[in-house]
């Protein structure tokens, strides 16, 4: 099967404007729709101390109007053109996208250019969006079981620097403290064209799209892209442990985090963990589902894989391999972890069998194609690959790259999931106290 995986081609062309904006074009004739995404090279890892949650709050503000568009007009124009939109803040980037009928391409480009050039940030909109973001946090974190698990609380255990360890949704105190001037400085530091990738994917003509990009984005002046610091820090040298009291969870849960190789400079090493995650926990035939859920019932749910938020290949270094489980309160977390570590140790000692490797590969590739069948995800994936790796082509190349990863490489990846050096977050139901 290895040599016979069907292919999907996501061909791209690229150019750069004088202001530094990187542009990616990915035509898909006949799609009828076109996706437009702007990825800015700033995520919550870069927000300053005392301003937790600021990158995400700022993302909300970018929808609140710009020089040519009063408040609410952005939403209205996208939707009344038949399109959908969203924005999302990640560890290392923030993206904005719309998918519109092909006839609305120029309008979509205009909207993105207008807010890259002159967003209208006011005290009133800031205060309104602090309220909306606070409601988002109550909805997604505070008022539900396992809210923010494990992406909010695990980094605080595994990492020691503020950048890597803090809560990207932010504390209410910090959100309330944000000022309009903070916003102005953040915008000028990070939202400059030289710090962004524009991706257009779908039903487009290359020549026409190139003209439209120059016409709408060409006169945006900006500052040079900020120099991105290294966020590297030492790996844990022991088991680091913390517990989080959950007011709503009926069952305990655990998350174990191990450091991963640098996804950009050690891509091949990183990809071994992507396949490893699949053979550990993807589907009934995977080792952990079979051994820990089906055969012994130690956990009701278990999962494992590269990436803390948004799946594998969604951030730069440092990134995390996460093992997570929800388990019965009669079963100690340690028992679940030991059982999982046994499976990991077996893979480290003997490697996967050939069939297991082919299964993990086919499953991953199939899911990759499925996710990227939709224009919205494809536009976002291409932009993220270009921003993080400088190579949108990676999306097309991943199946071939993954198919050359050997059982030995999987085994040595499993060998780095050291049972004596990891971070452990235990979620304790408040009712159990």
């Amino acid at each position: 099967m290895t040599g016979r995986l069907p292919r999907a081609d996501y061909a791209v062309e690229r150019f750069r404007l004088d202001n530094g904006l990187r542009v990616l074009l990915a035509p898909d004739k006949g799609a009828g729709v076109v996706g437009i995404a702007v990825h800015y090279d700033v995520g919550f890892r870069s927000e300053p101390q005392g301003r937790t949650g600021f990158a995400h709050l700022f993302e909300h503000l970018m929808f609140q109007g710009s020089e040519s568009l009063p408040k609410l007009e952005h939403f209205r124009l996208v939707q009344s053109s038949g399109g959908v939109f969203n924005g999302s803040t990640h560890t290392d980037y923030t993206d904005y996208f719309e998918v519109v009928p092909a006839a609305a391409l120029e309008r979509g480009l205009f909207l993105e250019a207008d807010r890259m050039r002159a967003p209208n940030i006011t005290a009133e909109n800031l205060s309104n969006q602090v309220d909306v973001v606070s409601e988002e946090i109550r909805l997604n974190v505070l008022n539900r079981p396992y809210g923010g698990f494990p992406w909010i609380h695990l980094p605080a255990v595994l990492f020691s620097s503020f950048a890597n360890a803090h809560n990207g949704y932010g504390d209410f105190v910090d959100l309330q403290a944000a000022t309009v001037q903070d916003c102005a400085e953040f915008f000028q530091t990070y939202y400059t064209p030289a710090n962004a990738v524009l991706t257009i994917c779908g039903d487009l003509d290359i020549t026409r799209a190139t003209e439209l990009v120059a016409q709408h984005f060409g006169d945006i002046t900006g500052r040079p892209a900020p120099v991105r610091p290294s966020f590297d820090e030492p790996w844990p040298t022991s088991v680091l442990e913390a517990e989080h009291l959950d007011q709503h969870a009926p069952q305990p849960a655990l998350a174990v985090g191990w450091r991963l190789p640098d996804p950009v400079s050690h891509l091949r090493d990183y990809l071994a963990f992507v396949l490893l995650g699949g053979m550990l926990a993807d589907g009934e035939s995977s080792r952990l589902q079979s051994a820990i859920v089906a055969k012994t019932g130690l956990a009701t749910d278990i999962w494992a894989g590269a990436g803390l938020l948004g799946g594998p290949l969604d951030s730069r270094d440092p990134d995390v391999f996460v093992l997570g489980a929800i388990h019965n309160s009669q079963v100690p977390a340690k028992t679940v972890i030991e059982a999982a570590n046994q499976q990991i140790a077996a893979l480290a000692a003997n490697g996967p069998d050939d069939k297991e490797l082919r299964q993990a590969l086919a499953r991953f590739v199939s899911a990759l194609y499925r996710d990227n069948d939709g224009i919205a995800t494809r536009t976002q994936s291409l932009g993220a690959m270009e921003l993080l790796h400088g190579r949108a082509e990676l999306l097309s190349e991943l199946p071939d790259l993954l198919s050359t990863i050997t059982g030995d490489e999987i085994a040595s990846a499993a060998g780095t999931l050291d049972p004596t050096r990891y971070a452990l977050l235990r979620v304790v139901p408040a009712g159990d106290r």
Partner: protein
């Protein structure tokens, strides 16, 4: 040449050419020399080709629909089996059946079913609700024959091994206990009770105690009585040849026959949703409240449906709707508010849903009712109508542009006895609507008096404000 100096010289002015300009204020950022620019018009819309489709009803009564959509080298699979019941015991058994039907066959262990699918890049998942049992999957296009064979094996010869059934029962009970702590699940259960009472349509979530007493024999019995091809629909969309795929499905699934002469049973029509007081449920210490309002609507096949669709969009069906602009963008009461149309056999409803802080709950309810009253009494503007229409048309095209979107849509339509013809004709129906038709629909659909609903929150704090608004009673 400014700033060019040689060693030892003192420059006249600092070299600014390589320095970033000083930070501007937010006000300065928002203005450019050119000023506001005109919004570009829309270009001409190109034609989208209709994908090739084949359809057949097999001798067993299974309807198969195959569509060629080759953008990605995959095939999306949707099997929909009408699965109506009349008792809470049925709901509990159905949930157990759905949790175990893919966990092994007479010739395959639980792990083998999954491994055979994994090897061809495939997966299958089963789920159930009061209307249907559904098996959803996808596979690399080269692996479709394997996926169909595994699916046929699970449908005709599921193992229901004791260990697997009892193990899944424990997991299901655990999942139900988690769902019981999810505010959205809790609110949904109360809403279903409020609008459907004891009708089986209300039992989206089975009773954990009843699930706990479902044994292997009950699951087997339900399988042989209700997992039947006659009345079911299999939709396959992707990189495939429609006619050859129909032949392959006929051959592989031909052995799925079921008890002779028996057909699947659709859910009986739930009672229409009738207006009434909001029932308030207490959740001590909640930091947010859930509000759900619902009223009767019309099914997709009804000639008034397109107008109802636009009236719903204008009210709260998308981001630039009146409800979202009011309670989120203007007042910050909520992160997300939406109103949507839902369908059961013979009945339909509009459902409005949002969560808000405890302090904002009563004010948000007031605004939601105000917007209902306003749109039901006064016609929307032509601009609002065009925006909603374009949104409906554009998002329909976007969702049908993916293999998964098209497969799911065809499967859902099959559940209402509709097909691709309805889909193909829908844009013309939307295009033909007048403001008057949408105003008439809004009058019928959105009249505040037609609504019932629930609120869940900390009534210790909420009660006085809710009482003063009125039309609310304590549960």
């Amino acid at each position: 040449m400014a700033g060019r100096t040689t060693a030892g010289e003192i420059p006249l002015a600092p070299d600014v050419t390589n320095q970033p300009p000083a930070f501007r204020t937010a006000q300065e950022i928002a203005r450019t020399v050119i000023g506001p620019r005109p919004i570009p018009p829309l270009a001409k819309t190109g034609r989208i080709r209709t994908p090739a489709l084949a359809r057949a009803v097999l001798p067993t009564g299974l309807q198969v629909v195959a569509v060629r959509k080759p953008r990605s080298p995959l095939v999306e699979v949707r099997l929909r089996i009408p699965f109506g019941g009349t008792s809470k015991v049925h709901a509990a058994r159905a949930e157990m059946l759905s949790a175990t039907v893919l966990l092994g066959t007479g010739s395959r262990t639980r792990e083998q079913v999954d491994a055979d699918l994994a090897l061809v890049g495939g997966h299958l998942d089963a789920s159930v609700d009061p209307q249907r049992l559904s098996v959803t999957g996808s596979v690399l296009s080269t692996g479709l024959p394997v996926l169909l064979e595994v699916l046929a094996d699970c449908l005709t010869d599921p193992a229901f091994r004791r260990n697997d059934v009892l193990g899944e029962r424990d997991r299901l009970v655990a999942h139900l206990s988690i769902a019981a702590t999810q505010p959205s699940s809790v609110a949904h259960r109360y809403l279903q009770q409020r609008r459907f009472g004891d009708h089986p349509a209300a039992w989206d979530m089975p009773d954990a105690e009843l699930v706990g007493s479902v044994g292997v024999a009950a699951v087997r019995g339900l399988h042989s009585r209700a997992v039947l091809p006659a009345g079911s629909t299999l939709v396959l969309v992707g990189d495939l040849s429609p006619t050859r795929t129909i032949d392959a499905a006929a051959e592989t699934l031909g052995g799925w026959v079921g008890a002779s002469g028996k057909a699947t049973r659709p859910l009986s029509a739930p009672p229409p949703v009738v207006g009434g007081d909001l029932l308030a449920h207490h959740r001590p210490g909640a930091v947010q409240s859930q509000l759900r309002l619902s009223a009767a609507a019309v099914p997709r096949a009804d000639p008034r449906y397109p107008a109802f669709q636009l009236a719903n969009l204008i009210y709260g069906g998308y981001f630039s709707s009146r409800l979202v602009e009011n309670i989120r963008e203007s007042k910050g009461y909520t992160y997300s508010a939406r109103s949507s149309l839902e369908f059961w056999p013979g009945t339909a409803a509009v459902t409005i849903a949002f969560d808000t802080t405890t302090e904002s709950t009563a004010p948000a309810l007031l605004e939601a009712r105000y917007e209902l009253g306003r749109l039901s009494l006064l016609p929307p503007t032509a601009e609002e109508m065009d925006a909603a229409r374009n949104y409906a048309l554009g998002t329909l095209a976007t969702s049908l542009s993916t293999q998964a979107g098209l497969a799911s849509m065809l499967s859902v339509l099959a559940g209402s006895g509709l097909d691709e013809t309805w889909l193909a004709e829908h844009p013309a129906r939307l295009a033909a609507l007048t403001v008057q038709e949408v105003a008439d629909a809004a009058r019928d659909l959105l009249a505040p008096a037609h609504f019932t609903g629930i609120v869940v929150g900390d009534l210790g704090v909420l009660e006085p404000a809710l009482r003063s608004l009125g039309d609310v009673q304590l549960a």
